[in-house]
């Protein structure tokens, strides 16, 4: 963050106000006590700390927050939200920013994380209501791209071995899960959720 912000920022109205309007979360209540960041177990993998995301959101710095690693490596563990003295739902801010990053076609530095979430929802939709885990692994491996790179660096073998071990232990059900009965009604819920670009 420090290197990124060597120049003073000019605050822009917009992002923080929209968050307040759409999700009833006020990042303007933050007084930068940093309790959220102090308790966050994922800071080692983040480019901005959680309190910095909150501040930058309040200052309307869309480019910085929407293209940050932080929003994608946040594990939604809810520690920050639980401890914030001003009751700011920081984890929900992260969710809002992820949703917005996709909706506004931002470049996403953590492609694999985003792809995994999308594949998960695709799986639930295609399977008719319940997640088919065996399908999830296959779809993710093919969609997360770089199949060649994966072959070379061994991740692919790792995935394969894991899948095989699960199967051997009777924990990878190949049979598709039961579909919900009123499938049209169920699909209707998904129509609102056109979050993937393809």
């Amino acid at each position: 963050m420090r290197e990124l912000l060597s120049e003073p920022l000019s605050p822009k109205p917009g992002l923080g106000e929209q968050l307040l309007d759409e999700r009833k979360i006020s990042v303007f209540d933050c007084y930068q006590c940093r309790k959220c960041s102090a308790g966050c177990p994922l800071t080692f993998a983040m480019d901005f700390y959680p309190h910095e995301i909150i501040r930058l959101t309040a200052l309307g710095q869309e480019d910085l927050v929407l293209e940050s690693n932080t929003i994608w490596v946040c594990a939604s563990c809810q520690t920050c939200t639980t401890r914030c003295p001003n009751d700011i739902d920081i984890a929900a801010v992260m969710d809002y920013l992820k949703e917005r990053a996709i909706a506004t076609h931002r470049s996403i530095p953590q492609k694999n994380v985003a792809t995994f979430h999308q594949v998960f929802l695709d799986d639930v939709r295609l399977s008719g209501g319940r997640l088919h885990e065996a399908l999830l692994l296959r779809m993710y491996t093919s969609r997360s791209g770089g199949a060649m790179a994966k072959l070379v660096n061994g991740t692919f073998m790792g995935d394969l071995k894991l899948g095989f071990e699960l199967f051997r232990k009777g924990r990878l059900r190949l049979k598709p899960p039961q579909r919900v009965r009123d499938i049209d009604e169920f699909m209707e819920l998904f129509k609102k959720a056109k979050v993937w670009g393809e």
Partner: protein
Amino acid sequence: MKVSYYPGCSLESTARDYAESIQGIARWLDIQLEEIDDWSCCGATAAHSLNEFLALALPTRNLLLAEAVGLDVVVPCALCFNRLKSAEKVLLGPEAAQFESRYLTHIAQVNGLETGAQSEEPIKNRIYQGKIKIWDLLDYLTQEAVLSRITAKIKRPLKGLKTVCYYGCLVARPPRVTDAQQCEDPTNMDRLVEVLGAQAYPWSYKTDCCGAGLAVSRPDIIDTLVQRLYEHALEAEAECIVVSCQMCQANLDMVQSRISHKFGKHYYLPVLYFTELIGLALGHPGVRTWLKRHFVNPFPLLMRKGLLD
């Protein structure tokens, strides 16, 4: 005791050990688990990361099914529990009307109903009343009444088994969603473990995140988080880790050999479901089958302790 049961997707597949142990001990404790008919996925981390509406709509569908049955609903998965509770809070909170009309507009459209004034009637019928309680399985099984049933049925106390209890994130946090009384320092699993005759050691990591949601997409992050948990479990002098969530279990169990390899240190910490420990103490014959499905083989430890033959 009879309750509704919402197993969630992974209990039908990768968490089969957990599912079997739950069914096994429930029967022995005279608890009737009635699986909710036609349940669907809660949306998990994927939905709340990508689409707020879906993140509430998917659990809402299940809550409506559960309320129609009318019994309290028990949920073994921490993430499902958290999502159902999140939807409950919205459905019973100040935003309820707004969310419901969005939800029901969708359903109404597909059922050929007019949206707006004419459709008020069918819509009203489906509003969630909040008459049922959503239980986390651990909370449910550590009620006084259940604990005393367990105590009465113990055949083989788990003497000498040194454990730390790992609760994970989402059953506890955030308390305004989960209604957890002790979100920073839950104690009900520790208490259960001691009732079963084992030792539950204190440690500061019982609700620290293991990062399960990133297990597939960022395994490197998991290695750091989970190795930290192993180290602190060992520092607390535990020989195994007890969990109440299948994502925690998978995340701590499946990658133990990878982490050992990566950090050049051999970790041996079996990761056991609290329900498996109950089964073990009650002398349930299914225990061996459940434990065989784990990655880190718990048999050497349990045999050394004289808890399995």
